[in-house]
């Protein structure tokens, strides 16, 4: 413990004690005629909260022995670890772990909750699950016109669940697999493959070429190579978008923790809710919607 830390702790303790006394003094005052609580009480409570947070943060800092200096170690790619002689990125292992946890959870759900489903009296967990499934189902039906592949809803739901699980893993202090370029590029590749598979399944190889060439037959030899290039750029753009967004969120959290230093006990947890839960949620929505849009575009056949 350094001298400045002792002074900080003393000041925080004095403020805390003063606010506590003020709070107790004001607690007995009745509310005025408008029904508003006395103002001193509110300020005393806020002061107690802030100084208490400061004290707890200082306590944690002293215990952990870390100083409150700004230090950010940023790496574009994840660290690598050796697993039985094979060099693997840490995010790969995290991704595999997330997958295992998700599969176990879903198996447990299948064995316990889904057996108790009833048509007449839907309850708690059933309603929640139905909301999620309904949401994805509506998204697929809204974006895909005409022929509806049956496997598309489970596919999109599993991608969304996997990405959400990856975002949750960041709350446990791991580096999210979605902030690794290889992982997001692989996710984009699944969209690319399903685009072509569904396009060929619906219209045949000739139909897919017609779809790529556009409505005018004379322009097709020129348009097909151009369209092929723009199709190949789809997984790149999907992957880079997801990667940039997730990495940006991670960097903002790192900056916040670095700036707060040792006092990072309360605020990052609240900010993390936005940057680790809501922000990935929006990205998942965009990823699924864009994938569906591209798949729909690949299946459409314009009549000349």
């Amino acid at each position: 413990m350094t001298k400045t830390q002792i002074i900080e702790a003393a000041v925080a303790a004095v403020v805390l004690a003063a606010c506590l006394v003020l709070y107790i003094l004001n607690a007995k005052k009745p509310p005025d005629e408008n029904g508003k609580k006395p103002k001193g009480k509110k300020f005393a409570f806020l002061g107690m909260l802030v100084s208490g947070w400061f004290l707890v943060g200082l306590f944690i800092t002293v215990l952990s022995g870390k100083t409150g200096k700004l230090h950010i170690a940023f790496e574009m790619f994840s660290e690598r670890v050796d697993v039985f002689g094979v060099s693997l990125a840490k995010t790969t292992l995290t991704g595999a772990g997330v997958l295992i946890v998700l599969i176990l959870l879903l198996v447990v759900l299948r064995l316990t909750v889904i057996r108790k489903f009833s048509v007449d009296e839907p309850k708690g967990a059933q309603l929640a699950l139905e909301t999620v499934v309904d949401f994805i189902d509506n998204m697929v039906r809204g974006n895909i016109h005409g022929y509806q592949p049956k496997a598309l809803q489970p596919f999109m739901l599993s991608i969304a669940l996997y990405m959400f699980g990856c975002a949750l893993s960041e709350l446990f202090g791991l580096r999210a697999p979605t902030s690794d370029l290889t992982f997001t590029f692989a996710l984009g590749l699944t969209t690319f493959v399903s685009m072509n598979v569904y396009g060929i399944k619906k219209n045949g190889v000739g139909g897919r070429l017609k779809n790529m060439g556009g409505a005018v037959p004379a322009m097709r030899p020129l348009m097909i190579p151009l369209k092929a290039v723009s199709d190949i750029s789809i997984p790149v753009s999907l992957g880079a978008r997801l990667f940039g967004n997730m990495l940006g969120g991670m960097l903002v959290m790192d900056l916040l923790k670095g700036v707060l230093g040792g006092y990072a006990s309360g605020l990052p947890a609240i900010a993390g809710l936005w940057f680790n839960l809501a922000h990935p949620g929006i990205q998942i929505y965009i990823f699924v919607t864009l994938s569906l849009t591209f798949i729909n575009e690949a299946m459409e056949l314009e009549e000349a």
């Binding site: 753009s237 880079a240 978008r241 990667f243 967004n245 965009i286 919607t289 864009l290």
Partner: protein, 75 residues
């Protein structure tokens, strides 16, 4: 030198993305005010458009990170 390059990239890209999103949002507000019953549909389209406008800035962010963290000739 690398950091200056990254800063210039982020400046230009975020300027463009900001203007794009601002246009899209203003038009979406116009449309939603004119037809409140179509607000949910407009919201979906707006979200998608904003994501596409934003993605240019995100690509620039990735490129800037690569440039800032790579050794480079001048670093």
């Amino acid at each position: 030198m690398n950091f200056i390059a990254a800063a210039i990239i982020m400046f230009a890209a975020s300027l463009g993305a900001g203007f794009g999103m601002c246009f899209a949002t203003s038009k979406a507000v116009d449309a939603a005010a004119r037809q409140p019953e179509a607000a949910s549909k407009i919201q979906t389209i707006l979200l998608l458009g904003c994501a596409l406008a934003e993605s240019t800035a995100i690509y620039a962010f990735v490129v800037a990170l690569i440039i800032a963290t790579s050794g480079g000739p001048a670093a």
